[in-house]
């Protein structure tokens, strides 16, 4: 029997039980759609975070106290500004520092809550942090503890209604700072908006927060090949100064690797949960195919009596199962893509990236589910004894 004929018979059979076929497909539709949506969201989240990490700068080494491991408790920093100088002398590289805290920023009657980051001039060179207007902090600002600030573009909107803030004075945690620069927009991140940050000299921040430490330091190796060397020098300096403590000097690759692993794992878990629903859909297909074979026992007997071979009957029922699951799969893909894009549009922090492989995989899996779960009923049909089948009611 030609496939075209088997196809025609299968379509006729599916049409004859329209509602039943549709309900059976629904299981597959839901399974495939959830695979596509969850993979899209997982991939989107991963890509977004990776872009942010990459946006930091390529040969970056970030120094934080304690051990940087997923799930380890954060360690209270004992680093101080002098350590940055030691590092600079040992490595010959500029060292950026950071001490951050959440503070209320006011201008006139307007106020906004912002992450206030005490930094030094090196930040603008170590990190990719372009300033759109005005300029970034300078060494002398840090040395003289000048009360100047560089603010994010979101604050320009919320505090100044978009008017030019350069030269204006804002209140940060109750202390007056003069705005000398505005950051270029870098967009929001999963961790919060970086466009509403305020950078002030580290020395001013230490006084403002009443804290003599720095949270973290960062430096850039001249080339990628230098990263291990600079990293080793950094750790040596810190081990020398704080013999009892551990520090981590993490590179962009390490962060990318860790973040990638966590999000990759998350995506896999989500996809696996979705795959279970696809499996359940497949069991439904198998069930309905068994019913279909039973209902059509006499038809099978007749077809065999007039010359259908086992494989003709098998093909007919297998095609019916595959048709059920692959139509369900296509509908599921359409729903999944639509759902991903809809979710991404509706929820700002939820990026969705449709990779080419997830619909292809979902379709392939659903067709395979059809074959896998269709084969038992189809073989049962193919093996029916024609005389017994013809006698059945």
């Amino acid at each position: 029997m030609r496939v075209a004929e088997a196809y025609r018979v299968a379509v006729t059979a599916l049409r004859a039980n329209g509602l039943r076929s549709a309900l059976t497909m629904l299981g597959v539709v839901i399974g495939v759609a959830s695979v596509v949506v969850l993979v899209a969201i997982g991939t989107g989240a991963k890509r977004e975070v990776e872009q942010q990490v990459q946006g930091l700068g390529s040969n970056l080494i970030i120094v934080v106290p304690g051990r940087l491991e997923f799930g380890s408790a954060p360690t209270k920093s004992r680093l101080e500004l002098g350590d940055a100088d030691r590092l600079r002398r040992a490595t010959g590289q500029e060292v950026a520092v950071s001490l951050a805290s959440g503070e209320t920023v006011r201008f006139g009657t307007r106020s906004a809550f912002a992450t206030v980051n005490g930094t030094n001039a090196a930040v603008s060179r170590v990190f990719v942090r372009p300033v759109a207007r005005g300029e970034y902090l300078r060494e002398t600002d840090v040395d003289t503890r000048r009360r100047v600030a560089v603010i994010g573009p979101e604050l320009v909107t919320s505090l100044f209604d978009g008017a030019d803030p350069l030269g204006r004075t804002v209140s940060v945690g109750g202390v007056r700072f003069r705005v000398i620069g505005v950051f270029a927009s870098v967009g929001s991140s999963v961790g919060g908006s970086r466009d509403s940050e305020v950078h002030i000299p580290i020395t001013a921040a230490q006084r403002l927060f009443g804290d003599a430490r720095v949270d973290a330091m960062a430096l850039e190796a001249p080339t990628t090949e230098d990263i291990p060397q600079v990293r080793k020098q950094t750790l040596a300096v810190l081990a020398d100064r704080y013999p009892d403590e551990e520090f981590s000097a993490v590179t962009q690759d390490q962060i990318l690797g860790t973040v990638g692993r966590i999000l990759g794992l998350l995506t896999t878990v989500l996809a696996a949960i979705a795959a279970i629903s696809l499996l359940v859909g497949g069991v439904g297909v198998s069930n309905i195919m068994l019913v279909s074979v039973r209902e059509r026992t006499r038809e099978i007997g007749l077809r065999k009596a007039v010359g259908a071979r086992q494989r003709d009957v098998l093909l007919q029922f297998l095609l019916e199962a595959v048709l059920l699951t692959s139509i369900g799969g296509l509908v599921g893909i359409a729903l999944g893509i639509g759902g991903s894009l809809g979710l991404a549009a509706a929820i700002d922090q939820l990026p969705a990236v449709i990779t080419w492989w997830s619909p292809v995989l979902a379709f392939g899996v659903s067709a395979a589910v059809g074959v896998f779960f269709g084969v038992v009923p189809a073989r049962r049909a193919g093996r029916l004894d024609p005389v017994v089948a013809l006698r059945s009611e």
Binding site: M1, R303, V306, G307, A308
Partner: protein
């Protein structure tokens, strides 16, 4: 010339739980090309079982069965299916037409398994339906046809592949006398004009008497 069908001392037993039912207990029967045989006998005597064996739909428990000179024991299920398709036409007692399927597609179905294309199938099926006087009911479904019409569609389906033997199990059993007469005339015309061997099971003495010879089955054996 080899006979169309040849059964040599065939038996057919069914194993049910712990009892064995011997439906046929050693039957030898030869159907020549162009033969016209009536199989008669009481209910449960094994007539249908014999027809199934003769048509290669079933295999004997012991004994030899040859279809067109070929021993069915040497054939696989699928080979046997192809032999049935090529040489045998079945007319079942209960019509066995596919519901939701037009007369022309019902009749064309055996050709599907010969790899005949749809247009050609329809052409052959239409021809077969015209031959049984059903040329005006091509698109009708079984539920839209009378009993006699359904039986004629079933005969057309048995004819469409140009069989050498037509096996009809009580072809007039469900029909009134007049329609039964029409169906018989049809079968006899085929036998006469096309030389198709006809084997039919019947309970009707008049019908049986029209055949060239009669075979009487009783309790799984042929009566002499």
């Amino acid at each position: 010339m080899t006979p169309a069908l040849e059964a040599i001392d065939v038996t057919r037993s069914y194993q049910l739980e712990d009892v064995r039912v011997d439906a046929l207990r050693g039957v030898s029967l030869t159907i020549e090309h162009g033969d016209y045989v009536a199989v008669v006998g009481p209910s449960g005597s094994g007539k249908s079982t014999l027809m199934h064996l003769l048509g290669g739909l079933d295999r004997p428990t012991t004994g030899t069965l040859r279809v067109g000179g070929q021993d069915v024991a040497a054939m696989s299920q699928d080979q046997l299916a192809q032999v049935r398709n090529a040489t045998i036409g079945f007319v079942f007692q209960s019509f066995q037409l596919l519901a939701r399927t037009s007369a022309v597609d019902n009749v064309g179905m055996p050709l599907v398994y010969r790899g005949v294309r749809r247009a050609e199938r329809r052409r052959c099926a239409t021809e077969a339906l015209e031959r049984v006087g059903m040329g005006h009911r091509l698109a009708h479904r079984p539920s839209q046809l009378s009993g006699g019409e359904q039986q004629r569609v079933a005969i057309a389906r048995a004819l469409v592949g140009g069989p050498q033997v037509l096996l009809a199990d009580e072809p007039t059993g469900n029909l009134d006398t007049r329609t039964g007469e029409e169906v018989m005339a049809l079968l006899e015309a085929l036998n006469d004009e096309q030389g198709v061997a006809v084997v039919l099971v019947t309970h009707d003495r008049d019908v049986a008497q029209r055949a060239r010879r009669q075979v009487r089955v009783r309790d799984g054996l042929l009566e002499p």
